[in-house]
């Protein structure tokens, strides 16, 4: 039972364009969402997060949008750079005392020069 889904296994965009990565979730108890970025042979690294009380959070070139009614979030990267090429994991946490991340399966982003 996959509670966090990333339906696009891969995405290719041109350098300078916008990359949009999507994530859907099923558990309405999730109240905190994160994006992690992963390069080959490395561990995931935290990118950006959003609380369920917000619908947008921005950090430089990265913006995360949350649509609670649709149980959908997206990560926008603009402008995309070749160094952004990596696997992006969406993750969610239920409100509570422990930091139990529930990950999606990831989207491989390739930014073409």
């Amino acid at each position: 039972d996959q509670q966090v889904k990333q339906n696009s296994p891969s995405l290719s965009v041109q350098e300078g364009r916008i990359s949009i990565l999507n994530c859907d979730y099923t558990n309405s108890m999730f109240d905190y969402f994160l994006w992690y970025k992963k390069y080959p042979a490395e561990g995931p690294t935290f990118l950006i997060s959003i609380s369920s009380i917000k619908d947008k959070n921005e950090d430089g070139r990265f913006t995360v949008f949350l649509n609670k009614s649709a149980k959908h979030l997206s990560l926008h990267i603009v402008p995309s750079q070749p160094g952004d090429s990596a696997v992006y994991f969406c993750a969610a946490i239920e409100g509570g005392a422990t930091n139990k991340l529930i990950f999606g399966t990831g989207t491989l982003l390739a930014v073409q020069p």
Binding site: Y32, G43, T45, I93, N99, G106
Partner: protein, 114 residues
């Protein structure tokens, strides 16, 4: 100076063997985790320790036993290895176990069971 380190990076072993993976963090964090990424790329939490106390224990076979000798270390011991244990195992740490505390991941240990 790596923040979260794991040893070994690669581990190839036979079915039925017992093996350990070590994790160390130098961030001064109180909470550490083990995750498993299987062949389908699902990344799932296995265990979490806070101040050497087990706080998350997912439905993991009891052949897997985490050990936290101190706050900076969380080792994973696996008994009677099976083919299905082949995966990449990631260690992570966070300042607190609170749900908004950022988790910092190690580089992973690729375990192959033959």
């Amino acid at each position: 100076d790596t923040a979260v380190s794991q040893t070994p990076k690669y581990l190839v072993t036979q079915m039925g063997n017992d093996k350990s993976i070590k994790c160390e963090q130098n961030l001064g964090h109180d909470t550490m985790y083990w995750y498993k990424q299987d062949s389908k790329k699902f990344l799932k939490i296995m265990f979490s320790y806070n101040n050497k106390e087990l706080i998350i224990n997912e439905t993991v076979p009891n052949r897997f036993s985490p050990k936290s000798p101190d706050k900076a270390h969380l080792n994973l011991h696996i008994n009677s290895l099976e083919l299905g244990d082949s995966a990449v195992y990631f260690c992570a740490s966070s300042q607190e176990p609170g749900y908004t505390d950022t988790q910092y991941f190690g580089p992973g240990t690729r375990l192959t069971v033959l």
